[in-house]
């Protein structure tokens, strides 16, 4: 199997032959995909809000779309970070805001009402995906998973603390880096 990184290894260094199972779970990978989706959508909304407002019959609300773009970018960065759970929940909240905005545009006078309806269905689907992913990520990375044990019997001192307290005194003559 070709791996680009093998090209930069020195002669005696091991090189990848085949890749095995990863520490990333399916939920982690989905979160990563949703994070990049946020970044892409946020970039579009921030840089080309007219395209969005035109498609949805929302002309004049470019400022709102731009602010949603900033929100998407922040949610994307958070979702791609180690704190992906917080990022995913922020996406769920953002989905709610998107749906409320779209619902307000779902009026008979809007010539693009059909597109708005399609967008609502899409956002609904993504909301479900965000919610399920947030739940899965939260469950998989929950510190409460597994057995709970205390280690009150693990002193590390086979002879007991009293027997060894101060055993290393006097200290070695050279206790700090030589200069």
């Amino acid at each position: 199997m070709f791996h680009f990184s093998n090209l930069v290894r020195s002669k005696g260094d091991p090189k990848i032959i085949t890749s095995g199972p990863s520490s990333l779970t399916a939920a982690d990978r989905l979160a990563r995909g949703l994070g990049w989706f946020s970044i892409a959508l946020g970039t579009l909304e921030l840089l080309a809000p007219h395209r969005v407002t035109h498609a949805l019959g929302m002309q004049g609300r470019e400022g709102l779309v731009r602010s949603y773009g900033v929100r998407e970018l922040l949610a994307g960065v958070l979702t791609l970070s180690v704190e992906k759970k917080a990022g995913l929940w922020s996406r769920v909240a953002g989905d709610g805001l998107d749906m409320a905005t779209l619902l307000s545009e779902l009026r008979p006078s809007n010539p693009r009402a059909g597109t708005v309806m399609a967008a609502l269905v899409m956002v609904g689907g993504i909301t479900v995906l965000d919610y399920v992913c947030a739940q899965d990520v939260g469950a998989q990375h929950d510190a409460k998973r597994g057995r709970k044990r205390l280690y009150s019997d693990r002193s590390g001192f086979p002879r007991g603390i009293a027997a060894v307290k101060g055993a290393a005194l006097p200290r070695p003559a050279s206790s700090t880096a030589a200069t």
Partner: protein, 391 residues
Amino acid sequence: MKALVWHGKEDIRCDAVSDPEIEHERDAIIKVTSCAICGSDLHLFHNYIPAMMPGDIMGHETMGEVVEVGSGVNGKLKKGDRIVVPFTIICGECEQCRRGNFSVCETTNRNKHLAEKVFGHTTAGLFGYTHLTGGYPGGQAEYLRVPFADATHIKVPDGMSDEQALFLSDILPTGWQAAVQCDIEPNDTVAVWGCGPVGQMAIRSAILLGAKQVIAIDRIPERLAMAEAGGAITINFDRESVVERLNELTDNKGPEKCIDATGMESHVSAAQPDTLLDRAKQMFLLENDRPHVLREMIYVCRPGGILSIPGVYSGFSDKIPMGALMNKGLTIRTGQTHVNRWTDELVQRIEDGQLDPSFVITHSVALERGPDMYRVFRDKQDSCVKVVMKP
């Protein structure tokens, strides 16, 4: 062979890789019998340490049996020897090595030019770490090539188990050096932030070095219980104010000696608002580290005291209270561990039964479970404190 390979943020895989080969006459190859996941591996896992590359083999706490020796090892090792591999690769000959400053060996970093650009000067080559420190393949693998093997090894005394010897590679001398750097005196209070494996070793070291009281600070109950078992008074920072409690335990004078065994990834919580700001800045690449512990140590340490920092910091840290640091006349001591400087003394203490570092092991698994165990260790699931893997 099998090895745990870094592929990117939070993506460690158990890959099939080619076997390592002798590259230089001073190299040796060991068959790994035990290796461990270190807290600093999590900084790599989170991609906080710059200059990692996909395909890098993880691991710098390793021991095993010598299976091949280069011609320049000059009889210092032979096939069949059991050795622990210090995480710092040392030549044993340069000016720094001769002074015992092994972690800043001038010879072994094969990417010196990078280190000189970033740090100003080169530091030692490290196993399974960033390419700034040589990008040497690590020991979470079935086999490991040990460069400069004639100097970079610790022979395991007969009768000492893997579990007792393995941590001579890093966390035991790191905790020990952290405590020794404090110049502990019999009336001193030593406060240790972070009860992970290095914090646990620092607590035991401070006890051996005769501190009047050792105070351990964390939020994970099982880690606090382990710290208490080692002789520490504990502070759960989720439940009580660290500053108030430390002052209460020291007649409002503060601890004379403070050890930061947490480093760049301080716990983020609304109760510590500076950590929220640090985390946000870290996310947007405006700051590398979250130095909450460092700030708290400077604030609470007794004037004239010593701050010892074994915790890893990666780059730039903001809002360090330099005014308090300077006016209180605090001394900071830090650095990667000069492992071999402490080896003889620590081996002796283990053999004498003063200390058994295996107390910290909570999980012992096959290498193939490594990717899962990175998650378990990071998420502090299953009461995980230290993972040892058997290839």
